[in-house]
Symmetry: C2
Subunit: 281 residues, 2 copies
């Protein structure tokens, strides 16, 4: 019997990070932690073979803190997932929408379901730490007037009844996750189609002068390499200087990307490879 890979994630069972871990790794042993710092630490100490972290959301933006932790960790991106963030209204089996009085969830999830809550004014929103934790709480207490807003998976884990699906305001609410590990080779990743594209993520620091970014992008543009993401970010402690997150289409060790990265490395102040992996889309 093969040993299941241990994947650390932030949250409780049923959190979207746990759903992403299962999408990427099949049937991992998922290890919940309270903070992002702790999941990177778990990989560093060997308590987990990898961790699964959200890196950006289509409404809320990039999570700079997780880019920082990835950079500091020296770990590499092994795989990418993109998860539709769909919120369900979950309650005790037998409860009806008319029975409900209070809806528990993380405030960000409650805010994402503002339209549903405004059209059901008899439901009082109650903020709690975690979407999946809200379902656990409701099921432990067992009152028909209490509900939670969380993922379909959280409902399954705790045996809750689904009273409404897709109660979020914006259906195009996606979160992108990375599986992060010391080496990619040893992870039992769910196989992607051989035709799926490769993506390469890196951090770039360039001299602070007009046109410096234009020149850096020229190494890719001149070779027809597509840029899937670019984002500037001020560099801590160095006012007026910027770092960039870049996602390029292609595999780091193959041409033409390898040559473009070599040229960039000779010109840039800092190029930090974060990983080369099969794209989720």
């Amino acid at each position: 019997m093969s040993k299941r890979v241990r994947a650390a994630y932030q949250g409780e069972p049923g959190a979207f990070s746990e759903v992403a871990a299962r999408q990427l790794l099949g049937d991992p042993q998922t290890l919940p932690f309270a903070s992002f710092e702790e999941i990177f630490e778990a990989v560093r100490t060997g308590d987990a073979e990898c961790c699964v972290v959200p890196i950006e959301n289509s409404l809320a933006g990039s999570i700079h803190r997780n880019y920082d932790l990835l950079d500091e960790s020296g770990l590499t991106i092994a795989a990418e997932a993109s998860l539709r963030i769909a919120h369900n209204l979950l309650a005790m089996p037998g409860a009806t929408l008319a029975d409900l009085r209070r809806v528990h969830s993380h405030p960000v999830a409650l805010a994402q379901c503002g339209r549903f809550l405004r059209t059901h004014p008899h439901l009082e929103p109650v903020p709690v730490h975690d979407t999946a934790g809200a379902v656990r709480l409701v099921m432990e207490r067992g009152h028909a007037e209490e509900a939670a807003i969380a993922s379909e998976r959280a409902g399954e884990i705790y045996g809750a009844a689904t009273l409404a699906v897709g109660v979020e305001d914006h259906p195009r609410n996606f979160t992108r996750f990375f599986a992060v590990a010391p080496h990619t080779a040893t992870l039992p990743l769910v196989q992607r189609a051989a035709a799926s594209r490769w993506k390469t993520s890196l951090l770039l620091h360039i001299p602070n002068r007009p046109g410096a970014l234009h020149r850096a992008l020229g190494f890719f543009a001149s070779r027809g390499i597509d840029l899937a993401k670019i984002e500037s970010r001020p560099i801590e402690g160095r006012p007026w200087e910027y770092g960039f997150y870049l996602d390029l289409i292609g595999r780091a060790g193959e041409q033409p990307l390898a040559e473009a990265l070599a040229e960039l490395g000779r010109e840039a102040e800092r190029v930090k490879m974060l990983g080369t992996y099969r794209a989720a889309e």
Copy 2:
């Protein structure tokens, strides 16, 4: 007596958005609303002359939802503020750190103060909707064992005692705010130094082909125009196409920026000006 400008913001009195409104507008009449949608709506209907919205945080990233609302509103950026997000521990006058058992705040603020909470394990974190609302709650209940984590200003408004200052993990936690209005000319903005730089923000859609961004940035690079921010974002409903947020140093109506923008306008699929304003830094 001159009429005070009415500035809508999301949150309760003492929220960081209200602090930003006062920094930008001196002594505005600040109007609290529950959601970002409502503050843009208040400006549209004339209930407020402007609204003040957070647009990005140095740890949590750009708030795409507010870029969208700004785009849809047709309003313009009148001014920019950058606020250090410092969290204080606030409680009933007379209470001591040893008395405390529970600390109320927004979960994002509680998460930003993880180190303080871990080193004070007798304090149970309690999530609520709003940092300033947490202070109001603690003061209304009047128990010496309850505290809140919120801004210095929230403490002043509700007459709370400050038991600890700067309890956040990361001192370099800044949020950037925009004052947004139908026209900039009529707003009584706090004057910036004449030497302060101008910044111009825009949304850009360009054809989805390798090198298209490189070419677009060339219009600015060739004229020595500095790029203060760039961020790509997938365009809703058009997979594989990207829009960009750009901040350029310079005033939209002046050279060399005016000419660069005219050239860009002839090549791009869409250029939407969001505003030209004095930079906060």
